[in-house]
Amino acid sequence: MKTIPPLCPEPEVGPKYWRSLDQLADQPEFRHWMEREFPAGASLAPEGESRRDWIKLMSASFMLAGVGSFVGGCRRPEETLTPFAKQPEGYVHGKPQHYATSMPVRGSAVALVAKSYEGRPVKLEGNSLHPDANGGTDHFAQAALLNLYDPDRAYRHTQAGSDVKVEVVRDLLSASGKKFAANGGEGLAFLTERSGSPTRNRLQDEIAKKFPKSKWFVYEPVDFSACGRALSVLFGADVQPHHRLEGARRILALDCDFIGTEQDAHRNIRGFAKGRRSSDDQMNRLYAVESLMTLTGGNADHRLRVRPTDVVKVAAQIGVAVLAKAGISGELAGTLQQLAAGSPASAAWAQACAADLFQNKGAAVVLAGYTQPAAVHLIAQALNAVLGAFGPALVAIKSSENRADGSISECVAALKAGLDTLIILGGNPAYNAPVDLEFAAAAKKAKNVVRLGYYEDETAKLASVHVAAAHFLESWGDARTGDGTWVPVQPLIEPLFGGFTEIELIARLLGLDKVSPLDLVRGTFGTDDAAWRKFLHDGHLAGSAAKPLDFSAADLARVAQALAAEKPVAGSGYDVVLARASSVDDGRYNNNGWLQEVPDPITKVTWENVILISPTTAKELGISESANAKDGQYRQHLLKITVGSRSVQGPVWVQPGFADHTFGLALGYGRTETGRVGRGSGFDAYPLYLDGSRHVATGAKAEVVPGRHLVAVTQEHGLMEGRPIVREANLEQFKTKPDFAKNMDLESHLPHYVPFKEKPDGRNVDPRPQNIYEHPYDQNPSTASKIHQWGMVLDLGSCVGCNACVLACQSENNIPIVGKDQVARGREMHWMRIDRYYSHDPEAVVTSETAANDPQMAVQPMFCQHCESAPCESVCPVNATVHDEEGLNVMAYNRCIGTRYCANNCPFKVRRFNFFDYNKRETDYAGAQSQHFFNYGNLYKGPAGVNRNEAPEWEIIKLVKNPDVTVRMRGVMEKCTFCVQRVEQAKIAQKVKVGNSGDVAVPDGGVRTACQQVCPAEAITFGNILDPDSAVSKLKRLPRNYSVLGFLDIRPRVTYLARIRNPNPEIAKIEGRTQPDTLRDYERFRHESPFETHGHGPAHEEKHAAVVPQKGAA
């Protein structure tokens, strides 16, 4: 038989994300698109030589698609395999390659390792070789990958609005370079983003040399430099801070969300979590004084809620107390005394806090947030100096950035004075410059505006020449991380749309001989090839970290002087905080679907920003209705906030724990010129962002505007209802009964006649009741692996809830975004969610008003618990979800028919159903349908809607998919797989390594799940629970270890370590919070305490086994 029988092709599971690039290049639609998108016939027309480049660069040639949908013909399509004509050296098809690179951010950088398949980066990880990193990253770094494959990015160069070839841009740059070389740079100005790139610094110096009259302005709307400026005052030199929170035992955060939205948050999380994990007397203690409810506040042991303009008063009040303890008097103390006037914090609170800080001199640090004025930063640095923070917890290092000639206001002044050419490198000042500067109007005065931009955004509209920028994964470059270490930026792919890098553009302007970015970086690095190779391989230059400045250079008097000159604005009316958005930053990630859809860590709002207010403020404004979902959807009141003559309008969000008389607005939304993802998401808060007040405006007025606005949230209920889901205790309590977490919920109440299993099964730590049937693993030993049994421990003590894992999981596992409308309907697809619970004790005496306004917060990452006796499995009628030999609850997507019974029967509700073809059909992104009953979005159009698989530009976005993971189609259930692809790859790698031998066990740490790998807090540990020495086994043996809903006897393979809080006993007394509120709730609902013996359960059993001698001793 020479032909195949005419078979009906199998309907595919999920769309095919990429077919042979060759095939792709041959499609007429694609050709058409390419021609349209690259009208200048730029670098990548897939013909002849260029075609080979194309194939080389993204040679996904073998990954053939099961083409067509199931309605197609009945004959199996003939598919071709197109190998390389000439195989690249050392290339093994099908093996992923890893390259070290880094993501530059605002003068700092995140050191990364990028995984590349067939020349296509598919996953970014932190570089654990970097001296100041642990392999974790923040969520922005995870999502940055999606920007690379954004079909809405700037894909062309334009002059006066029309497309131009790349040569035109090159000529134009060198021509204008020549022009300005002649006049010394008269009329030339640069407006750039912050950068610590040594190469850019070098080029900036050369610009200054070649064009001495040119100006160099640096502008960031969310500028983290305030801390550095205060530090520079203290040290009398241009320095920047480098926090080492792992060395801090007491931390005071003054409106500083250092684990959320501050610079290098993932580093801070690492340090903070390290000091948290010990759960003993070495454990750190965090005081947060803040206006917004932030992750930092949620993780704090004590949180003081004050309006932003009052933070300085509290800071000063604590400062006075610390100085008094240190015996320092004089100008500083006097100024502080003045500033402290009218502080909302009680004297006792401030005294107790100060005393605690001072007692831990040498291990206490004070942090001030970027929204706060210089005064607060000066106080913070003064306190750091007094508390001996410099060295152990904080160092001042030489600033990695060059000095600039000013910022945006100077730039506007220069524009008004008349500029010939303004070169805008990155940024988006037309959108995010302080609105009173009227940047756009000023920019129009310049003759030429050359703009290098990643998107054709608001600023692009102003540009006479717009140059498409390259993504950092397409660029050669360099940067410095927060500790000053020099890191390379390495491309993994040729610029998809022929974009320029910043340094190349500058170099062309300078008229340098070698303008390729690689040469430029090499020019900075030097000629040592071996060192260069090591630099690239390691992803950093060893020993290049900046030397900390000697503390002897610090002078408090300078601070005192500077502080005396500061006149912080007093709050009046309502304060407005304009904060960096946890999702879209200052607006730069506005078109990133992953970030748009990742819920805010506190509010759980997706796809937009809201006006945060406290319940009290809500009452004042006459918004009686609390933020409860009505009919499952949040239809929020609209509020109009006016500061001076400017106002913004947005939906209200009543946020527990939020400061009174304060509005919290996230920046970065409401963009007018953005891609299809960001279009229509949120409202623009920049109109209140003024040059003078920047992040905190005061004297605001507010009025409720008629109408309602739909807000999409991923978590509707925020209270634990007394259920011991997150189990926590204070450190003092924990010491009295370390296994308290095992003594909670119904599992501690088994009637005495329920027998326990005699023999431990070797997998579960805690004794379990004897079932009528043995588990098949025990009954039919052939069904269980004796080599690996996988398990995970999640330490709630160190998890801070930063969302990095959510995005890492999304990136690794090809999780689609669903759009605001679907989120509002409760159909988000994230396999990993971070549950956020508030708790308050109605009987507690708290510092301000009602307890409900000052809740405690607890976070808990929740995902498939891989229950050994999984309720989801037994209800599946088609065997689509079963257990494999190694304890993984697996999903066979191609078997699933989508009854959703498994999701219903999952006690953790972690299963996600593809209600629509989210991969194939375009969602509505931020555009939400107005009601539940009738719906008419894109997804609802079904086959009549746009099929992404057929739209040529989607070939680009499909490249982001991880080829190791099936892309799921509609009607299929999915959920966390424990990164089964990584597990299998590790097992295969080990087997390949050992060949014909029996050493097939993957060594501990050989498999790292995506969430584990990204976690800066190292809160997630995964491994083989059969190996008693594995990290995960050790953690599971800790007394803090417990299973959520353990009483169901479903034996989750994911267990949690109870969270330990470390409050200051004195303040706890003041607050009346002698134990965590969740625990108090539990005791109130259940009439029992985990610290008392009761019932019959695992904790007691263990006691019988192990603690009997102690009884005798007692």
Binding site: F62, L64, K95, T966, T977, I988
Partner: protein, 212 residues
């Protein structure tokens, strides 16, 4: 006027019974034919752009499979050799053969040769070559006696049942690693059971082994 049904209609029940049996058998056979070998494509033998003979290269010349399929031990994918690989020899041997024109063109122009894919697993199956050939599973088990084929055809079924056959009883198939490319090897005294035990060969039979 008479009874509406003629006498022969009394045979209808019998005929219906026979028809039911026939239809039942046909449907069963049809299902077996259409559904069972859904992915097997056994016998598929497309005409390749270059008339490459495995029989000549692997059998007569005794070349090892891994000379051309060099990634098979390292990657999930067993690569098709590049034109360059062909030219390693064919720049010397038969360098003017008409049959090799396409190879020479490809090598010169960089245009890949569009080989037609024969063996293919569905997209949701993550088959890995390296783990099989490094753990004593020979090419022959899945691909048949390629070394005897002038034109390659699909010899084995590649259905899930086919995979499970070996995953359930690896001892029947396993051989020492160094023999995996010896497609003619006949087992004389190699103790598969012992190898399975000593090498801890425990091929997965649950979903995650192949579906992710």
């Amino acid at each position: 006027m008479s009874d509406i049904f003629p006498k022969w209609t009394n045979k209808l029940p019998l005929m219906a019974g026979i028809a039911a049996v026939v239809v039942g058998l046909t449907v069963t056979a049809g299902i077996t034919y259409y559904f069972t070998p859904k992915y097997t494509r056994v016998g598929y033998q497309p005409k390749q752009p270059v008339a490459f003979s495995h029989a000549i290269h692997a059998d007569q010349l005794g070349m090892d499979c891994r000379y051309c399929h060099s990634a098979v031990e390292k990657s999930w994918f067993s690569n098709i050799p590049s034109s360059g690989t062909c030219m390693n020899c064919h720049s010397q041997v038969k360098k003017d053969s008409d049959k090799l024109q396409l190879v020479r063109d490809s090598f010169a122009s960089g245009q890949p040769i569009p080989w037609i894919q024969i063996h293919k697993t569905p997209d949701y199956v993550y088959f890995n070559h390296s783990v099989h050939v490094n753990r004593g599973i020979s090419c022959v088990h899945c691909h048949g006696q390629i070394n005897k084929m002038d034109e390659v055809y699909h010899a084995k079924s590649h259905s899930m049942a086919f995979c499970l056959e070996c995953h359930r009883e690896p001892e029947k198939f396993i051989r020492p690693n160094e023999l995996v490319t010896k497609l003619d090897w006949v087992n004389e005294g190699f103790d598969g059971k012992k190898a399975v035990h000593d090498w801890k060969v425990q091929p997965g039979q649950s979903c995650s082994t192949c579906h992710r």
